[in-house]
């Protein structure tokens, strides 16, 4: 501020006391002519001699400001816009007017250059911080790799470059690339290209050896790297996206020829962004890999979708005890019959919950599968299953029901055997609900097991309901502490006469879920075996038909 701090030579003047003031002061009259100036002003504006028109000796912005300030009468603006400022001699000044009694205006000029620089830097920093915060929350919100790449490319194109490419390490031969132009939408493509053809890209995608962000000569860039219609490329920088110990990919930033190339500061900033994008992309990739593994392992443990087999209707539905899980300790299977034989249904419950229990259900299901040749001898099957499960280290048992179902004419013959499991219920055509006469020992805990098989015949439209105790032991109801119970289940089933297998399964699960409300519960499984209604019988419900066709 040396040049504003002029030396005081003049004597103090009553009319112009600011001769020696450290800030430049100009007094300008109503007509825009300079009346006086102080020493500091003389240093700043050497041409500004008294008598000269302000417009000739001062920057246009100051002259313009003066015209708005000194307007007399109602148009006058003595407290003119405090934001008046502009550049004089390469520095930035704020101009503060004060209107004097004689109508002249004294202009104080305050050097604001350093303030302004700091303000600009702060503003820029805030913008970057805000950008990084926004990027973080957008990236952290998703665990989907594609979406992470979209966000990365789009945000980079918004703030760092004219176009950006997010590239993920490829699993197959083709490289997943998301391209985004500034102001555009991110677009995914798969490129059959060799990343090693682009300097630095191969390393970035392998994550080894470590490479810094790297400039490449735009003229050597392969065509696929430059978005269509981008125009001449000024600069290209390839930044590795660091992952959690695994390579996450690479970020390619492109600027047009007419845009400034990257400053050091911008490169540092791009690296900060890349660190966030890389972390998010590798988390998403890990999640996807874990999900894929879980999916494959779980596929075997998930209950199957049931449908009609050899003329017998089957339906099943399962609700695990924890809403975030899809598997648990209940299981069911239908093993389709070979020609003329019975299909075998198994529904059961192993003690325990969650994944551990689910693994045991897997063991039981594969053992039963292996024992299928013996399917018409339930006792034998159960006895062999029992032996296979006996384990001296724990007494984790299972209870289950085996059902062999075969269509004879339009009726279904059933053999039902309970191994320590809640008794299957039969819904007759008139709504009567019967318990199947079968009892037996649970399997997997005691050396000697026995069971009694029941034979049941289902007429068309009748069905047999197998369920686990998660249904009957659902605790809830309006008072919150009552078991759903056998009686309530039977009453509900009695209203289900004539319903499809699917309908009953869904209805029972719905009633149990409503009984429970939001309370905790055990695994719940229901399987219904039904003799299909024959066509001519299907319309037998005269009450309904009469109403609409009569």
């Amino acid at each position: 501020m040396d040049h504003t701090r002029a030396r005081t030579i003049a004597e103090p003047d009553a009319d112009f006391p600011w001769g020696a003031a450290p800030y430049p002061v100009l007094v300008v009259d109503v007509d825009g002519a300079l009346v006086r100036r102080n020493d500091a002003a003389a240093v700043l504006l050497p041409q500004a001699a008294p008598g000269a028109p302000l417009v000739d000796v001062a920057p246009a912005w100051l002259a313009a400001a003066h015209r708005t300030v000194h307007l007399p009468g109602p148009y006058g603006a003595p407290d003119a816009d405090p934001g008046l400022s502009g550049v004089i001699g390469g520095r930035r000044f704020e101009a503060h007017p004060s209107v004097r009694d004689d109508g002249t205006v004294a202009w104080w000029l305050v050097d604001d250059t350093d303030h302004q620089l700091v303000r600009d830097a702060l503003h820029k920093e805030r913008k970057r911080t805000a950008f990084l915060a926004k990027a973080s929350s957008a990236l952290l919100s998703t665990l989907n790799l594609g979406r992470c790449m979209d966000v990365t490319a789009q945000m980079a194109a918004e703030c760092l470059a004219d176009a950006a490419l997010a590239i993920a390490p490829s699993r197959g031969r083709r490289l997943p690339v998301v391209t985004c132009l500034r102001g555009g939408m991110p677009e995914l493509s798969h490129r059959s290209v060799d990343p090693d053809d682009v300097p630095g890209l191969g390393e970035a995608l392998r994550g080894f050896p470590p490479v810094p962000a790297r400039w490449i000569d735009p003229s050597t860039a392969p065509q696929w790297l430059v978005p269509e219609g981008f125009g001449p490329v000024g600069s290209i920088v390839i930044t590795p996206l660091p992952g959690h110990g695994v390579p996450a990919g690479a970020l390619v930033l492109l600027r047009r020829a007419k845009t400034d190339s990257f400053s050091d500061e911008e490169e540092v900033f791009a690296r900060l962004f890349a660190a966030r994008a890389g972390a998010a992309m590798s988390a998403a990739r890990l999640y996807a890999e874990q999900t894929a593994i879980t999916e494959v392992l779980m596929r075997e443990l998930l209950p199957p979708t049931l449908h009609q087999v050899s003329g017998v209707d089957f339906a099943g539905r399962y609700r695990p005890s924890a809403d975030h899980e899809r598997i648990g300790g209940d299981f069911y299977d239908v093993h389709p019959a070979t020609e003329g034989e019975a299909s075998l249904v198994a529904l059961g419950d192993v003690c325990g919950k969650g994944l551990e229990a689910a693994v045991l259900t897997g063991k039981i299901r594969s053992t039963l599968h292996a024992l299928l040749p013996l399917a018409d001898d339930h006792q034998r099957m159960l006895s062999l299953l029992n032996t296979a499960l006996l384990n001296s280290h724990h007494a984790r048992f299972a209870t289950l029901v085996l059902a062999s179902a075969v269509l004879r004419g339009n009726e279904v013959d059933l053999k039902l055997t309970s191994a320590g499991h809640p008794t299957p219920l039969i819904i007759r055509g008139d709504g009567t609900v019967e318990e199947a006469d079968t009892r037996g020992t649970l399997v997997g805990a005691i050396r000697e097991v026995s069971a009694r098989t029941a034979a049941v015949t289902l007429a068309p439209g009748e069905c047999c309901v197998l369920y686990t105790d998660g249904i009957t032991e659902a605790k809830g109801g309006p008072m919150g502490d009552v078991l759903f119970g056998d009686e309530r289940l039977k009453r509900a089933l009695s209203a289900c006469a004539g319903m499809t297998a699917e309908g009953i399964v869904e209805h029972v699960q719905m009633l149990a879920a409503q009984w429970l409300g939001n309370r905790r519960h055990d695994d719940m499984a229901v399987v219904v075996i039904a003799a299909p209604r024959t066509h001519h019988l299907s319309a037998v419900n005269g009450h309904t038909r009469g109403r609409f066709t009569g």
Binding site: K134, S137, A138, S141, T142, L143, N144, L145, G146, R147, V151, A284, Y287, A288, T291, D323, H324, R326, G477, P478, M479, G480, D481, A495, C496, A497, G498, M499, T500, E502, G503, I504, E506, H507, M510, A513, R533, H535, S538, A539, N541, T544, R545, R547, F548, T549
Partner: protein, 364 residues
């Protein structure tokens, strides 16, 4: 792709006629005829979207109505619904219904506790016809499963269906969860109230009155990604008073207390069978659930509307509806320290009183 300009029914047929025939088949449990009706219409060149929305949807509406008005039982309602489901499946595989994917990916699901899957199913099929790639997740979907699915598939939009008002708090949680991972949510279904007023309240990105409107809306303009700095409590600042939480948490003991007090107040309850007592307790529980929902939304109309409807149902069931007034009174006594609950209960009491007196004035 089909253009949705109904009626596209050839041979002089109208959707209403086909709907009547389909309704008869569905209520008679005649799956075979039901499927044949629709397949024949498609063979003759009917527009698939129109069959879904102008035939199957109204048929399902009628089935629901028949059930609500006690003309068919639960078994018939289920049977008819599952026939409608199968008709939709048959439509989906008909050679005339070619679908190619020309648009983005949408996940369609029902909120947790929503068992009526058919509206969501219809929407799925319509969106498929319009070229979207659809993941239909069905009824009663726990929110954690929905979110895991969205992470895996990266859907552009979630369409959530909810028909039961008392599931709205759960729906709000589901909407917020989807939005928090950057997926916009379109909602629909009776739960969202007249003109979808609760959809807006719960911060949904879009609402549509029916499947056709939803498909049109999604075709017109894609839903933009939701703001990530959104906090669910901002939608419903009144929740800060905890009335919803406390009423919900104590609902079991509220039912018990009010039930016991009702037995003292209404001598005829001594004659009730166990089943009747359980029904009464269930009615009580559902009144409290609606009250809690009204507290969640801070919307007293929701509660008064429910009470009016309950009064009608009770009357239809031959249960004296005047038991509603003491019920509301007893609840108000229990909740006297809850200003919003008190206000809502007072409004409902007024409604019941008005209704009662206006009915008393009318000759039956």
């Amino acid at each position: 792709m089909s253009i949705s300009t109904p009626p596209a029914f050839p041979c002089g047929g109208r959707p209403e006629q086909l709907a009547d025939q389909l309704l008869n088949a569905a209520l008679a449990g005649d799956e075979h005829s039901a499927i044949e009706l629709v397949v024949r219409a498609l063979d003759e060149g009917a527009d698939p979207e129109s069959i879904l929305l102008d035939v199957i949807a109204p048929v399902q509406g009628k089935v629901g109505q028949e059930w609500a008005e006690n003309r068919i039982n639960v078994a018939q309602e289920h049977a008819a619904t599952s026939i409608n489901e199968r008709v939709i499946t048959a439509l989906g595989v008909h050679p005339a219904v070619g679908t190619s994917i020309t648009r983005g990916r949408i996940t369609v699901a029902c909120v947790d506790g929503e068992w009526h899957a058919l509206p969501a199913r219809l929407l799925s099929e319509v969106l498929k016809l319009r070229g979207w790639r659809i993941d239909y997740l069905g009824a009663q979907l726990p929110t954690p499963h929905l979110i895991a699915h969205l992470h895996t598939t990266g859907a552009d939009v979630v369409a959530l269906s909810s028909s039961i008002a008392t599931r709205l708090p759960t729906t709000h949680a589901a909407i917020s969860a989807c939005q928090a991972i950057g997926v916009p949510v379109l909602v629909g279904g009776a739960a969202f109230g007249p003109a979808g007023r609760y959809a807006k309240l719960l911060g949904a990105d879009a609402w549509a009155p029916d499947a056709r409107a939803a498909a049109d809306q999604l075709a017109r303009s894609p839903l933009s990604r939701p703001q990530l700095d959104h906090q669910p409590i901002d939608d419903l600042p009144h929740l800060a008073d905890q009335e919803y939480t406390l009423v919900t948490r104590n609902s079991d003991s509220l039912v018990r207390t009010v039930f016991a007090a009702l037995e003292d107040a209404l001598p005829f309850m001594n004659e009730y069978s166990d089943l009747q007592r359980e029904r009464t307790a269930e009615d009580l529980a559902s009144i409290i659930e609606f009250l809690a929902t009204a507290l969640y939304l801070d919307d007293e109309d929701l509660f008064t509307g429910f009470i009016t409807w309950t009064a009608q149902v009770l009357t239809a069931r031959g249960v004296p509806a005047q038991s509603l007034r003491p019920t509301l009174h007893l609840l108000a006594l229990e909740l006297k320290d809850f200003p919003r609950a008190t206000r809502i209960l007072r409004a409902a009491t007024r409604t019941v009183t008005t209704r009662h007196s206006s009915e008393a004035g009318k000759p039956a």
